[in-house]
Symmetry: C2
Subunit: 155 residues, 2 copies
DNA sequence: TATTAATTGAAAAAGATTTTCAATTAACTC
DNA sequence: GAGTTAATTGAAAATCTTTTTCAATTAATA
């Protein structure tokens, strides 16, 4: 688990100054289980740190992305939605389309598929993007939706 | 292969009017092997149909998306990039990160993985997003990059 | 405590997307 | 082919989102 303190140390360790504004942004993202847009982060940060500028939030998000400390979540309307990187290595997301909660999973053996796709297409494959979407347990209970396994909508 | 004529018939068949502007947008997207942003589509369409409004392009893109005739490609900077849906059913993309070319593939057996992920997470999984990224053969030859198979950058 | 380079925030600029509304036109009827 | 009608168009304005600029502030170090 990446505490906001650990993150702070990483930031400082890399030679960046640790300002109250940065701390506030860190806390907000680190604490959230959902993916948040820059605007949403700004709104939340303002509660603990009124007067912070939206620019500062954008700059912090850029910094975190550069340091590879955040992930992007892929939603249907756009992909400007951030999430603290929880497993630090290779991993993927399962996103709840109802509440936005994101859960991670690490084991994804796509190598066979990748090999086949590479051979057929002639591409040198450099990376992949894999994300599952669905309803988390909680939202499922709320809405009374059916069992956990169903193949349906495809992005 | 979805010709621009077939697409035109679908549009008309669903009760939408087929205007010269719509035809022009259709031609541009249907003809391209790359994914195009609304702005790029606008630029191209203007060459055959000067005077078309950017709004019209946006509206056409919305219509095509509603009719499920386009796909979205997921890029690192944002996902407002469209592509004619070529296999009409379930499929995925391999995108060239250099030239933007997109190639499709249909066989993706994720059911085992999906089953496991669903059980572990408690999610009712409704869909998935899978895309490979890399260098197409042509770009590979241009830049002299290595063989086709490499596991690297992960989105 | 003084120094210094990084950081901040207001404001403006730049972009992207959506809304509004009067004028135009594709599709249909006769 | 002309008339009717509802859908479509495009200019302009309104909204949002993101980036740039620059003077003032401040964290980190000595």
């Amino acid at each position: 688990m990446m505490t906001s303190e650990k993150l702070a140390n990483i930031i400082r360790g890399r030679g960046y100054k640790l300002t109250p504004q940065r701390r506030a942004v860190l806390r907000v993202i680190a604490r959230s289980r959902d993916h948040l847009t820059p605007g949403a982060i700004y709104e939340r940060v303002r509660k603990e740190h009124p007067g912070i500028g939206l620019v500062t939030v954008y700059r912090m998000l850029e910094l975190l992305a550069d340091l590879n400390l955040t992930c992007r979540v892929h939603t249907e309307d756009g992909c400007r939605s951030y999430l603290m990187r929880r497993p630090s290595g290779h991993h993927h997301h399962i996103m709840c389309t109802s509440c936005g909660r994101v859960v991670d999973f690490t084991k994804c053996d796509l190598s066979e598929l990748q090999q086949r796709v590479s051979e057929k297409s002639g591409f040198k494959i450099e990376g992949h993007l894999l994300q599952f979407n669905g309803l988390c347990q909680e939202c499922r209970e709320k809405t009374g939706a059916g069992g956990p396994f169903r193949t349906g909508k495809v992005w």
